[in-house]
């Protein structure tokens, strides 16, 4: 069975703002953890959040999670540690989460020492690193970085390792809010700060960053991890969930390019020879993880503005049209180009995309089914352009042209498409793309991540 002589870390959920049952948090606190935390970030929802500064989860959802965790941490006198605050861990995201913590403290009348570790990178110093040859490309990713790409980026972050967290713990911070961090780093930092070796500390973080996801049934819930010299143990804090050797082993597949080899700041975690052993019907012990030290590198993430996006959604139920859909859409595209020219808009001023659901809307060019098999087809038409005026104008042309373009054998002469909404045209938030995804070689693990302390 799990003993109590180890270092205990409590993760409340997979992401700050995803929520968790209060009873799971209480069950976790009853096991006397040495810290409580949650991962704040992910690139998974796409580039918009890093680009725009808007958080992935709502203020209300993040505040609810933060308030419960902060009160638990203060009551138990343990640190509350959160990496990649707000989603991307850029300055606007970190500042939003810090603002929520101050708001909760004011409401509760609580006081503590807080550290903010910043990960947003200044463009001038990134250019210096680039000129010094300290920025490299990844195996798969964008081409080599150049100064124009740095200039175009809305925000660029670097992904910190555990060292800045450990420094903040040394300085006595009870609440540590960090910008972009390697997902396991905040957890690895706490275990390593307690004197445990890197291998189990990092591997513990690999599970904790996803909350109770390594258990079955999956759900947004709390996970406790015990870290020893050469092992870790995992148990979900909700009685309805179980960690099994299979569920835990399979968690290593999640969002990683390899299930066995994890490249992290300062080293490589290798879990090839790990053994997964059930120590109860709900808890699993893992041994055999290895850590090899490597030159210190951190990942850079940046997003740039692409354009203003306008969309419309419609569908056709006409078998004659469905039978010649590709030709029809080519004709619509040509016609839109011609009509746009009349408005002074060249085809290079916009991108028009048809997402054809029922044909290849999900897989695009990788779809292997070549014919439409359904009785109806949904079309999402999208225009991205450098001004909202051009974007809206071209999308309106596309909508009208989809509706009224004639074709041989056409029976549905009043209109080709069913539009569910009025207005049919929808202005969405702007489109961004991940433009920076490179490796930087810092002089040390701290220099890119300044720490600010405040008495809350």
């Amino acid at each position: 069975m799990i003993t109590t002589a180890e270092f205990r870390l409590l993760s409340t959920s997979g992401l700050l703002g995803y929520g968790f049952p209060e009873s799971s948090l209480e069950a976790g606190i009853a096991r006397e953890p040495h810290m409580i935390g949650v991962d704040g970030g992910s690139t998974d929802p796409g580039p918009y959040y890093l680009g725009s500064g808007k958080t992935v989860n709502s203020r209300l959802a993040m505040k609810r999670d933060l308030a419960l965790m902060l009160r638990a941490a203060i009551r138990a006198r343990i640190p509350l540690v959160i990496g990649s605050c707000g989603g991307s861990g850029s300055d606007p995201h970190l500042d939003t989460v810090a603002g929520l913590v101050r708001e909760i403290a004011r409401e509760d009348g609580s006081h503590f020492r807080m550290a903010l570790i910043r990960a947003e990178q200044d463009k001038a110093s990134l250019k210096q690193r680039l000129r010094a040859g300290k920025i490299k490309t990844l195996r798969v990713g964008p081409p080599p970085l150049d100064e124009a790409t740095i200039d175009r980026a809305a925000h660029i972050t670097a992904m910190m390792g555990p060292e800045p967290f450990m420094r903040a713990l040394d300085e006595g911070a009870q609440v540590i809010l960090a910008g972009r961090s390697s997902d396991p780093a905040s957890w690895a930092a706490c275990a390593m700060h307690a004197g445990l070796p890197p291998a189990p500390s990092w591997y513990a973080g690999k599970f904790l960053e996803c909350g109770a996801t390594p258990s079955l049934p999956k759900g947004h819930d709390c996970l406790m991890t015990w870290v020893g010299e050469d092992y870790i143990s995992l148990e979900p804090m909700n009685e309805i969930r179980r960690c099994t050797p299979g569920s835990v082993a399979n968690h290593s597949l999640h969002e990683n390019s390899s299930p066995n080899v994890f490249i992290e700041p300062g080293g490589i975690l290798d879990t090839t020879d790990c053994r997964f052993e059930a120590i109860s019907d709900r808890a699993v012990k893992i041994t055999g993880m290895k850590w090899s030290q490597m030159p210190y590198t951190v990942k850079l993430e940046g997003a740039e503005f692409v354009g203003y996006r306008t969309v419309t959604i419609c569908g056709t139920r006409d078998p004659g049209l469905i039978a010649r859909l590709d030709t029809f859409l080519d004709e619509v595209r040509t016609s839109v180009e011609y009509k746009a020219k009349g408005l002074g808009i060249s085809s290079s001023d916009y991108t028009l995309v048809f997402h054809v659901y029922g044909q290849d809307g999900v897989m695009g060019p990788r779809e292997f089914v070549s014919e439409v098999r359904g009785h109806e087809v949904g079309i999402l038409a999208e225009v991205v352009a450098s001004t909202q005026e051009v974007s809206s104008a071209v999308l309106a042309l596309a909508r009208v042209t989809l509706l009224h373009t004639d074709y041989p054998g056409r029976l549905c002469r009043e209109g080709n498409m069913a539009f569910p909404f009025s207005p049919a045209d929808i202005v969405t938030e702007p489109c961004y793309r991940f433009s920076v995804f490179h490796i930087a070689e810092p002089a040390d693990p701290y220099e890119m991540f300044p720490i600010e302390y405040e008495a809350v």
């Binding site: 690139t43 998974d44 929802p45 796409g46 580039p47 918009y48 990844l138 798969v140 990713g141 964008p142 299979g246 082993a249 399979n250 290593s252 597949l253 999640h254 969002e255 990683n256 390019s257 390899s258 299930p259 066995n260 790990c274 997964f276 692409v306 354009g307 991108t351 995309v353 997402h355 290849d360 809307g361 999900v362 897989m363 695009g364 060019p365 990788r366 292997f368 999208e382 991205v384 489109c431 961004y432 793309r433 991940f434 995804f437």
Partner: protein, 103 residues
């Protein structure tokens, strides 16, 4: 002969970062996993063909601890860029479902 959709416990896809897609096939027991592994059908050439990439672009791992096979390959368009169809990469597993394993 057996289709992946009929013999796998899990067949899923997801982003591994914004520029890569990772596809996992998991089997329920060691016997099935070993039989599938022995056919050598699952490997870089198959994923290269299904996902229109070069075999050398496929990072393929046999993962007996998880009774799983994993292939990671470049996305056609980076997550969320114009022309992307699947920001999370969570619905790119279908070509694999129809693969016939001679067991």
């Amino acid at each position: 002969m057996a289709l992946i959709r009929d013999i796998a416990e899990v067949c899923k896809s997801k982003n591994a970062g914004p520029f890569e897609l990772t596809i996992d096939v998991v089997f329920a027991d060691r016997k099935t996993y070993d039989k599938v592994a022995a056919t050598r059908v699952l490997g870089p050439p198959l994923f290269a063909k299904l996902y229109h990439v070069k075999p050398e672009e496929v990072l393929f791992t046999e993962y007996p601890a998880g009774l799983a096979f994993k292939a990671t390959l470049p996305r056609a368009v980076s997550s969320g860029d114009v022309g992307d169809t699947d920001v999370y990469g969570a619905q790119q597993h279908a070509p694999l479902l129809e693969v016939d394993i001679p067991i």
